[in-house]
């Protein structure tokens, strides 16, 4: 049955009966807790991903690899990061892959990508809260492409480490990117405050509250943050 399903994948599209590949869905469930069988299934899916199967089939495979993927499937998924049609689904699988190789692949892809694909990879690094990518993300705050720079800011706001906060505080973003940097800074300060690092949080809030050209709503948010810092013992 499983072999037939893989055979069906060669002609798969979302408009056809899903039951033709149902055996793969069932295998994903049935192999839970059986590392050897999972590895075998992952290998078959990875191999299929690298064939000339239809776009819909590759999307389907990425979805399955999102559930069962390990370091083994990372290279095949990473190869799709520059593909305009499949980059999104590849990141879908990589972002949820628990292997550190997935983070490394996303980081390594950054110099090779541009535009929406690069912004997507950055967002996935943020989604993985990948602290190792912070130095690169800080550099990207000054990227000439505002889409990339904003994505870097938002990712740093998701990672929320002290290093991320420092990078955001020291950044000199363009006007297009500044709101994203401010947002991320507030997110970092909130996280630092929750972690008991009141002084670090307060420094961020104060920087935002007292900035000469800070927007009113940001000043209010930052002042509220300062009050929360002062209140927290």
């Amino acid at each position: 049955m499983l072999d037939q399903a893989f055979e069906a994948l060669k002609k798969f599209d979302w408009g056809q009966e899903v039951k033709t590949v149902a055996a793969i869905d069932e295998a994903v469930i049935a192999t839970h807790g059986d590392a050897a069988k999972r590895k075998d299934l992952e290998a078959k899916l990875t191999a299929a991903l690298q064939t000339e199967c239809p776009l819909d089939a590759k999307q389907y495979i990425c979805r399955k690899l999102m559930v069962i993927g390990t370091a083994a499937c990372v290279p095949a998924l990473a190869a799709l990061l520059s593909d305009k049609q499949l980059a999104h689904m590849a990141r879908f699988a990589l972002e949820r892959n628990t292997a550190p190789e997935a983070s490394a692949a996303l980081r390594d892809s950054l110099p090779k990508l541009s535009g929406a694909q690069k912004a997507g990879a950055i967002a996935s690094l943020g989604g993985r809260k990948d602290a190792a990518s912070v130095p690169e993300l800080i550099k990207l705050l000054g990227d000439g492409d505002a889409v990339v720079a904003r994505a870097a800011a938002y990712a740093l706001g998701v990672i929320r480490s002290p290093e991320a906060a420092k990078g955001l505080a020291e950044a000199k973003p363009s006007a297009d990117v500044k709101p994203a940097v401010t947002d991320a800074s507030l997110a970092c300060a909130e996280s630092l405050l929750a972690a008991g690092k009141n002084n670090d949080a307060k420094a961020i809030y104060m920087g935002l509250a007292t900035g000469a050209d800070t927007a009113k709503h940001v000043k209010l948010a930052a002042t509220r943050g300062m009050l929360a810092c002062a209140e927290k013992k």
């Binding site: 307060k202 104060m206 509250a209 000043k219 209010l220 002042t223 009050l227 002062a230 209140e231 013992k233």
Partner: protein
């Protein structure tokens, strides 16, 4: 943001505030925010005072700062301290109230004394109830309503000793405080010489009185002047009586007083009150009075029936309206019938509507007939709508029939279960009625909109 920048720079330079000094840091920060020109920034400080910055020490420090701020900030801070509810702020609030010459600040301070003050503030607040400024009076009333419970005793003393105007102003406050211990003093006030005080006392008694107070309320009927004021007393006693959950017990305290009494004039004066309460035990007593050979007792008995709260006395009223030898009694009884005929009792809707037809036939003028058509709205039945249909085309009744139709249509359960008939009737209403509000209501009910019930005389939506 200058104060803020300076303060925070200082804190940061000093190695930032330590845990031990966190509270001082909060106060300093709040203080600096309160000095900001931007009211939204000040708003953050007020919110912090209301909900976050905890402890009596914080309250005291902030309250001490009250005189240092401009009036606008003082008002905000007073409100925030009031919402904070810590009585430790009360001395500073009192001091500001005494020293400030700004009326808005004074009003805010009076308002703050409600949640923060106590019995010590009673004299001042009671005195403010008769201030020239209505904002001061309103603030004092609100604060007296909120003042902690032990202030009620002092208010009762004030109710005994204060000038009439103050006593009248205190009564709604005691009512809002549900101060039932004040009822004996309020009953005294209900017998006062001043009419406004008597009216305020009766309104309070209607809310606060209970069955045990009826004995003490009954003499008020005798003291009150016949007419509107006596009606007010009667309604008050009826409202108190209705507090008994069991309908049959509601008239018992009044009956007890009536049975104890051997003065016919007093009994005659009390009977209309008994009528307002109703019930089968009361009806037996009233029937005896109606049958009395004494004119005074007979008239009082009929008045009691005319005051009845439900339709159970309809047959008696019909008989009196047709057969009584006194024309005035017949007329008064007929007027009562118009009101009572459609009221609910053991009769079904059909019998109630038959009574309405009977009363309509007894009318001597079109004005009375229109009153009957108006009262028909109390019978929420499709038969009532059918009864109205022939009146649309009669010029003297058409407008009232239209109004009664929309009143019936307002009740969606009746309208929706007889949709076709109501749609046709409402179409006719829109053609016949000259009242834009009635026409608009007909349109609304045709489309199922029953959430708004405008009255004739309201501006029509087109206006």
């Amino acid at each position: 943001m200058n104060y803020l920048r300076l303060l925070l720079s200082l804190l940061l330079c000093c190695g930032l505030i330590s845990v031990a000094y966190a509270q001082d840091g909060v106060i300093d920060l709040i203080t600096s925010l309160l000095k900001e020109k931007d009211k939204e920034i000040r708003g953050l400080a007020f919110e912090q005072i209301r909900k976050e910055a905890k402890g009596e020490a914080v309250t005291k420090k902030l309250a001490e700062l009250l005189p240092t701020f401009p009036p606008e900030t003082q008002v905000g801070l007073l409100s925030a301290l009031a919402d904070r509810g810590d009585a430790a702020a009360a001395p500073a609030v009192r001091e500001l109230l005494a020293k400030s010459e700004n009326n808005v600040v004074k009003v805010a301070a009076i308002k703050a004394l409600g949640p923060l003050g106590g019995a010590a503030d009673l004299k001042l607040l009671v005195g403010s109830l008769t201030a020239e400024s209505d904002t001061v009076r309103d603030a004092a009333r609100d604060s007296l309503t909120r003042l902690p419970g032990d202030a009620t005793t002092g208010m009762i003393t004030e109710l005994k000793e204060s000038p009439v105007k103050t006593r009248a102003a205190l009564l709604p406050i005691l009512t809002a405080r549900r101060a039932q211990e004040a009822v004996p003093v309020i009953i005294e006030a209900a017998g006062a010489d001043d009419a406004s005080l008597r009216a305020a006392a009766l309104a309070a008694l209607a809310e606060l009185g209970n069955g045990e107070d009826i004995t003490n309320l009954m003499p008020l009927v005798l003291k009150s002047a016949a007419g509107r004021e006596r009606e007010m007393v009667e309604r008050t006693i009826a409202a108190v009586s209705r507090r008994f959950p069991t309908k049959e017990y509601q008239a018992r305290p009044i009956l007890f007083e009536l049975q104890k009494c051997d003065d016919p004039s007093t009994i005659a004066a009390w009977l209309p009150t008994l009528g307002r309460v109703g019930g089968s035990e009361a009806l037996e007593f009233v029937d005896n009075a109606v049958r009395s050979k004494t004119s005074e007792m007979h008239v009082a008995g009929v008045r009691a029936l005319c005051n009845w709260p439900d339709g159970s006395v309809v047959s008696r009223l019909l008989q009196i309206a047709r057969t009584d030898s006194d024309a005035d009694i017949r007329k008064a009884t007929f007027q009562a019938l118009v009101r009572i005929a459609p009221l609910a009792d053991e009769r079904d809707d059909k019998r109630r509507l038959d009574t309405v037809r009977t009363v309509f036939a007894m009318c001597g003028s079109d004005a009375e007939r229109n009153q009957v058509l108006d009262r028909a709205k109390a019978i929420r039945n499709i038969e009532t709508l059918r009864y109205l249909l022939p009146f649309y085309d009669q010029p003297q009744f058409g407008q009232q029939a239209c109004l009664t139709t929309v009143e019936l249509a307002h009740h969606s359960s009746l309208r929706e279960s007889n949709k076709d008939e109501f749609m046709a009737a409402l179409d006719r209403v829109q053609k016949v009625s000259k009242d834009p509000v009635v026409i608009d209501r007909a349109e609304r009910y045709k489309t199922g909109q029953t959430w708004y019930r405008p009255k004739s005389g309201d501006k029509s939506p087109a206006e």
